[in-house]
C-alpha cells in the first residue's frame, strides 16, 4: 500500500501509468477519499497520463491531523506532495471541496498547474456543507446515507456506518475543519479567481444544487468553459466514464491530437516513400 512521508506526515497515494510524460493529479472532496477516482476515472486518464491520486489528511488512509483544512493549508499539502513526487507542473482536477483546492492551487502556484478542471465545486458561502456540520448527529448521518444510497445505489452496513460516524466525529469535534471551512465562505468573492489564467474546465451535474456555483465560476474565470452531465452532485460516482472522458479530452487538448495525427501522416508518407 503506497503510503509515503510528506513533511513527516503519512499520505496515502495511488499512481497509475508511472513513467508517462505528463501527470494528472486528482483531488477528492471533503469526507470522501481517493476511491472516488480509483475504479473508473483514473484508469481512463491513465491511457494517456501518469495519474496521481492522494487521500487528504484525516481522510481515507492518510494520517489524521487536527489542523489545516483551510485552502491555504490544503494547497500547501498539495505543493509538498508535488515536491515529494518531483512533479514540477501537472494537469490538476478537483471534485467538490477538492475543486476549490485545485482552484486555489492555480491561484497561488500558477506555474505548477498546466490546466485546471473543477468538478462540482460549491460556493462555500451558500453551500449546505456548513449547516450539515452544525447539525451533525448519528441520526443525521443515517438520513444522509439513505439519501446517498438512493442517488448512487451504494449500500452501507453497520460496520460502515460506525466507521463513517467515527470519521465525522473526529473531524467535527477534534479538528479545526469546521472553523477552517467556515473561514473560506468568501472564497468566490476573491478577486484572484478572476485572474486565473489557465484553461479551465468546469464539470457540473445538470440537476446538481451546485450548478449555480458553476455558473458563477464560468462568468468569473476568464478561460473557462463549462460542460454539463446528467446527474447531481455525486456525478463522479453516477457518471464516471463520461466524467473521465471529458477530463481526458480537455487535458489532451486539440493541439496534442493535431500533433498525433500529423505524426501518423508523416509516418505514412515516409513508409510510402521507402516502398
Amino acid at each position: 500500500m503506497p503510503v509515503i512521508q510528506v513533511k513527516n506526515k503519512s499520505v496515502h497515494i495511488q499512481e497509475l501509468n508511472k513513467g508517462a510524460r505528463e501527470t494528472v493529479v486528482l483531488v477528492h472532496g471533503m469526507f470522501s477519499n481517493l476511491s472516488v477516482y480509483y475504479f473508473n476515472i483514473a484508469p481512463v486518464l491513465a491511457q494517456s497520463f501518469h495519474v496521481v491520486m492522494y487521500d487528504m489528511k484525516s481522510h481515507g488512509m492518510s494520517e489524521r491531523c487536527e489542523y489545516g483544512y483551510d485552502l491555504l493549508s490544503m494547497t500547501d499539502d498539495l505543493r509538498d506532495l508535488l515536491d515529494a513526487l518531483h512533479l514540477k507542473s501537472v494537469y490538476l482536477a478537483g471534485y467538490s471541496y477538492g475543486g476549490l483546492v485545485a482552484m486555489k492551487m492555480a491561484m497561488r502556484y500558477p506555474s505548477r498547474v498546466k490546466k485546471l478542471a473543477v468538478i462540482e465545486a460549491p460556493d462555500p458561502s451558500d453551500n449546505e456543507t456548513l449547516s450539515i456540520i452544525d447539525i451533525y448527529s448519528k441520526e443525521f448521518l443515517v438520513d444522509y446515507i439513505n439519501n446517498y444510497t438512493d442517488t448512487t445505489r451504494m449500500r452501507m452496513g453497520k460496520r460502515q456506518l460506525d466507521k463513517n460516524h467515527r470519521m465525522y466525529e473526529y473531524l467535527f469535534y477534534e479538528t479545526s475543519i469546521k472553523e477552517d471551512m467556515h473561514n473560506e465562505r468568501f472564497f468566490f468573492a476573491d478577486d484572484a479567481i478572476g485572474n486565473i489564467a489557465h484553461d479551465t474546465l468546469l464539470i457540473y451535474g445538470k440537476s446538481s444544487n451546485c450548478l449555480p456555483s458553476g455558473r458563477k465560476l464560468y462568468h468569473t474565470v476568464p478561460r473557462s468553459k463549462m460542460t454539463l452531465i446528467e446527474g447531481d452532485h455525486n456525478l463522479p460516482i453516477q457518471q464516471p466514464l463520461e466524467t473521465a472522458n471529458k477530463l481526458k479530452d480537455f487535458f489532451v487538448g486539440w493541439q496534442v491530437k493535431f500533433k498525433q495525427i500529423n505524426h501518423k501522416l508523416w509516418q505514412a508518407l515516409r513508409l510510402s516513400y521507402h516502398h
Binding site: 500500500m1 477519499n33 480509483y38 475504479f39 481515507g60 445505489r153 451504494m154 464516471p240
Partner: protein, 102 residues
C-alpha cells in the same frame, strides 16, 4: 529451463484462501470472526466493504499476482451495479483465467 521459470498455477481453492486472507487484513480480524466469507460473498452487501477498503484489497491482489493480471483494468470495465454485485467467485474465476492464458 522452461520448467524452472514456469510458475506454479494456483488452484481455485488456493486463490480463495489467499483472497480470504486479504479481506481479513483489510477489514480486521475482529469483524471477520462474525462473518462467513464464502465464494458467493459480495463485497459491498455481504462483506460490507467500502470503496477505500476495496482499493486496499485491489492493491493487495495486484502486488501478489503481479503483472499477470490487470486487476484495475478489469474492475474499471465494470459499471456501478457490477461493482456492487461483485462476488469473490468472480475474482477467483478472473485470476484463474489470467493464469491459464499466460
Amino acid at each position: 529451463m522452461d520448467a524452472i521459470t514456469t510458475q506454479h498455477k494456483l488452484s481455485n481453492e488456493e486463490i480463495f484462501t489467499i483472497l480470504k486472507s486479504f479481506i481479513t487484513e483489510v477489514i480486521g480480524e475482529e469483524f471477520v470472526e462474525d462473518m462467513d466469507i464464502s465464494r458467493e460473498s459480495s463485497f459491498t452487501r455481504d462483506l460490507e466493504m467500502d470503496s477505500i477498503e476495496i482499493v486496499s484489497f485491489s492493491e493487495k491482489v495486484k502486488s501478489h499476482f503481479g503483472e499477470h493480471i490487470d486487476f484495475t483494468g478489469w474492475l474499471s470495465s465494470m459499471d456501478l451495479d457490477q461493482l456492487i454485485n461483485l462476488k469473490l467467485d468472480d475474482i477467483i474465476n478472473y485470476i484463474e483465467t489470467c493464469q491459464s492464458s499466460k
